[in-house]
Amino acid sequence: MKVNFNLNNKKVSIDVDPMKRLLDILREDFGLLGTKEGCGEGECGACTVLMDGKPVTSCLVNACHLEGKTILTVEAIAKEPIGKLLIDCFDETNAVQCGFCFPGFLVSSYYFLISDGEQNLDKIKEALSGNICRCTGYQKIFESVMLACKKKQLYSHRFSLIHPVR
């Protein structure tokens, strides 16, 4: 089946099996390898992307759900100002260990920053609860996102130009 959707701010169209997972479409058809498969069953969040602006686990989205949708992956988010800010904060605290979970964490925390962004530990924990990290014990991830919230507020004038995520 043919599907048309918007991928990382570009219109794309492909011919695929309607049941093909978005995760595989990204990795195999578009070579976007940043999105990872940790479980294939919607549990770990390593495959998180934004679909119409909301985080979804791409291993549970099939091609047939994609028509007309807007997908943003880690590759695009890493280039957005808020994405960059988060990367700086994760880097600053040496939060990254094996890093396999981090593309997913970047997407989820990006969503938190643009949709809320309050420097509130409980809210952050909630926002990241769909992402599993087996290495870090989460402490430095929380610290990084808290830091990013703080910096975003401090420099809000710099981020005000960002276009809303579609």
Binding site: L32, L33, G34, T35, K36, E37, G38, C39, G40, E41, G42, E43, C44, A46, T73, V74, E75, A78, L86, I87, F90, D91, E92, T93, N94, A95, V96, Q97, C98, G99, F100, C101, F102, P103, L106, I124, K125, E126, L128, S129, N131, I132, C133, R134, C135, T136, G137, Y138, Q139, K140, I141, F142
Partner: protein
């Protein structure tokens, strides 16, 4: 020393770092395994599904192995591929490859197999109960004095159980094998801890069909925790076989449910402890320990796990009369293997739980009782090794102070009197010997290499992988700081067995402790040899001298003598120490324990990179919390858990606040850190639960189902 940022972090954050599944090669096909669904049986017939064209599939069985069908391990008893008989659920029977992943999956799903079923043992507790099921070498540490217990000595006896634990590295296991016919080599790329182990395995299975196996790790290794110590040998071996037969590159990446079903886990344990304690002096007078591990169907590396478990099972307490017996038990479940701690977490769960039990029977605060018996200078391990520092005691006092233990004990007692929900606080202490046990490091004879290039890049060659623990950053720091050289120009190379010397496996908390200290020595030697003021200037002024290679072997301190027969002597040259306090809130309506806070104070010697060290400690503590509270395989060895959906890993909402501190950091060198954070959270939480409720549970995890059982018992 200072914290530098991790070298690999940005590429990983941006999604650019390549993990195994991100590599592909021309003409590459996919491989998977067909595994047994019987615990024990003789294979009668394998029926392939009719609807597929068999010629499209590459299929290998034990018969296709040109070399040896034995995985090289400390105990060589496990085949790569089952021959006629399967000995456990999930044992590999066939390797299958095909160009299309989906077709391959469907094909394997539809293969039928018939067995003649044989008797099997799949339940851990049953296995460990009966001495008939023991196998392999028995280890005994006899430090007993045959003193008859006196009347005023209090006897305490208990049996402690711990379950399987899944490493759950977030990146599943995977390997790519590429056979080169002309050169008769096998190139294998994979997510692994020990490239030289994999090399031995591939060369063993391929026999004379290849001249050399060249093993390289992927850029990113998505967590390992011991799980990628020995199982990669099997995947690499079979991937090589498939590549040899198909003449194509073959990639095997396990999907999560296969990874959980067939790979190694932490050994379930049964530890029985008998103690006698003087009711007047509160000194432990006699300890007797029976330490048992369920090894699974084969011994593989379990004898080494047993050895470490036994050596850590006495805990951090002085006692003049100790007898420890350790043995492996055989069941029809997949072989268990390495997992952060390697036998020690089981040991510390038992002894630390037991200490609280003795304290309770003496009506003493667990802090006071520990204080009476904790190791001090001059005490001895049961292996007769002398304690030469009070660092465990210092960690202990520090964590008590940091956690405000004494105030909380009182406050919680008050709270608990008037509330159905309860608050609790618990202690656990532990140690971990760095590097291989006894003479192991001598045998390993690790070698490291540094090459200084003309362009000023200092390349560091070791066979140790960075699987997230930050080794390649920390090792670079040890070199660049010794050479007073820019960090950015000091680069640890991706391990590749044809380029990196064998500096040993990435295990046993040895990477920084053994390899890092060795690299530092080599850097010092370079400094002495080149006599430079400033290395950057020296390189540009003496271009003709470079590139220049420097190498060094590990030399064991001659005072380290360990008798592997009697288990007497110096088991580990240096120990790391930890003391931990856990605070919990018990929800009486839901029977759930909420871990609130964990404090852990470590002595790991010199801390090279504080943030990386903290991250290691926090991650290990989290795995310890999971071990104590949620993680286990429900089904009795059968089918195990099917994926991350039914195996409960701690999420951001389950994790307590973690406070870590390192003391005695002004020491000359760094000691091991990788494993020790895992040892104390589970017993500390278990002890906190006792403090909250007055109920001793001698088994983890403390899931509501189990708590209900004990609550009911108490009410009776």
């Amino acid at each position: 020393m200072k914290t530098v940022k991790k070298v690999d972090a940005r590429r990983k954050l941006e999604g650019k770092a390549k993990f195994l599944d991100d590599y592909s090669y021309d003409g590459m096909i996919y491989g998977q395994f067909f595994c047994s669904n019987s615990h024990h049986g003789i294979i009668k017939k394998i029926i392939f599904p009719q609807e597929y064209d068999l010629s499209q599939f590459i299929i290998v069985s034990a018969k296709d192995i040109p070399g040896k069908n034995i995985v090289p391990e400390p105990e060589c008893d496990q085949p790569f591929i089952a021959e006629k008989e399967v000995f456990h659920f999930g044992q590999i029977i066939l390797g299958v490859a095909h160009p299309c992943k989906e077709t391959l999956k469907d094909f394997i799903k539809n293969i039928k197999i018939e067995y003649k079923e044989l008797p099997a043992l799949a339940d851990t507790k049953e296995t460990l109960k009966d001495e008939m099921n023991s196998f392999g070498r028995k280890i005994i540490i006899d430090y007993s004095k045959n003193v008859k217990p006196k009347r005023e000595w209090i006897h305490t006896h208990s049996v402690y159980y711990t379950p399987h634990q899944e490493q759950a590295y977030l990146e599943p296991q995977g390997m790519i094998a590429i056979h080169n016919q002309e050169q008769k080599t096998m190139f294998v790329k994979g997510t692994m801890q020990c490239p030289f182990f994999v090399k031995d395995a591939v060369e063993a299975i391929m026999g004379d069909k290849i001249k050399e196996a060249i093993i390289e790790t992927s850029e990113g290794i998505g967590g390992a925790f011991g799980g990628k110590e020995d199982f990669p040998n099997i995947i690499a071996g079979i991937a090589s076989l498939l590549s040899y037969k198909s003449k194509k590159p073959v990639k095997i990446v396990l999907d999560r449910s296969d990874d959980m079903k067939i790979t190694t886990k932490r050994h379930p344990s049964r530890v029985e402890i008998d103690t006698y304690t003087d009711s007047k002096t509160h000194k432990i007078k006699k300890i007797n320990i029976d330490y048992r591990l369920d090894a699974g169907a084969y011994q593989t590396l379990s004898p080494v796990v047993l050895s470490r478990g036994v050596l850590h099972s006495g805990g951090g307490y002085a006692c003049e009369d100790v007898y420890i017996k350790g043995q492996l038990y055989k069941s029809n479940t997949p072989s268990n293997g390495a997992f952060r701690g390697f036998g020690a977490p089981q040991a510390f769960f038992a002894i630390e739980s037991h200490i609280d039990k003795i304290a309770a029977s003496l009506n003493l605060d667990p802090y006071e009782f520990r204080r009476m018996n904790i190791f001090r200078i001059g005490d001895e391990f049961p292996s007769t090794q002398k304690i030469t520092e009070n660092h465990l005691f210092d960690c202990f006092e520090k964590v008590i102070e940091k956690s405000d233990y004494h105030r909380k004990i009182k406050e919680f007692a008050k709270f608990n009197k008037s509330n159905d929900d309860k608050k609790g606080i618990g202690i656990a202490i532990a140690y971990h010997g760095g590097g291989y046990t006894g003479n192991g490091e001598k045998v390993l004879n690790s070698e490291v290499k540094i090459v200084i290039e003309k362009n000023g890049v200092v390349k560091v060659f070791v066979s140790n992988a960075d699987m997230g623990q930050g080794a390649h950053t920390t090792l670079a720091q040890l070199v660049n700081e010794t050479l007073s050289y820019p960090f950015e120009k000091t680069i640890v190379q991706i391990p590749n067995t044809s380029k990196t010397p064998n500096s040993g496996p990435t295990v046993a908390s040895r990477t920084i402790y053994i390899v890092g200290n060795l690299l530092r020595k080599l850097a010092l030697k370079i400094k002495k040899e080149l006599q430079f003021e400033n290395l950057e200037e020296f390189i540009s002024n003496n271009q003709e001298y470079f590139p220049k290679e420097f190498r060094m072997h590990f030399v064991q301190d001659p005072s380290v003598i360990f008798n592997e027969e009697t288990y007497q002597g110096i088991a580990y040259k240096d120990y790391s120490w930890v003391a931990c306090v856990a605070e919990i809130y018990y929800h009486s309506v839901t029977y759930t324990i909420e871990p609130k806070r964990i404090w852990a104070v470590f002595d790991i010697g010199n801390v090279v990179n504080v943030k990386i060290a903290e991250g290691q400690a926090e991650g290990g503590i989290m795995q310890g919390v999971g071990y104590g509270l949620t993680e286990f395989f429900y089904k009795k060895g059968y089918g195990r858990m099917q994926g991350l959906t039914d195996y409960a890993l701690p999420t951001s909402l389950d994790i307590p606040e973690i406070n870590v501190e390192f003391i005695h950091t002004n020491s000359d060198f760094p000691k091991g850190l990788g494993e020790i954070p895992m040892h104390t959270p589970a017993p500390a939480i278990r002890n906190a639960f006792y403090n909250a409720t007055g109920i001793f549970i001698d088994e983890i995890p403390l899931v509501p189902e189990r708590i209900i059982k004990y609550e009911l018992l108490k009410k009776k």
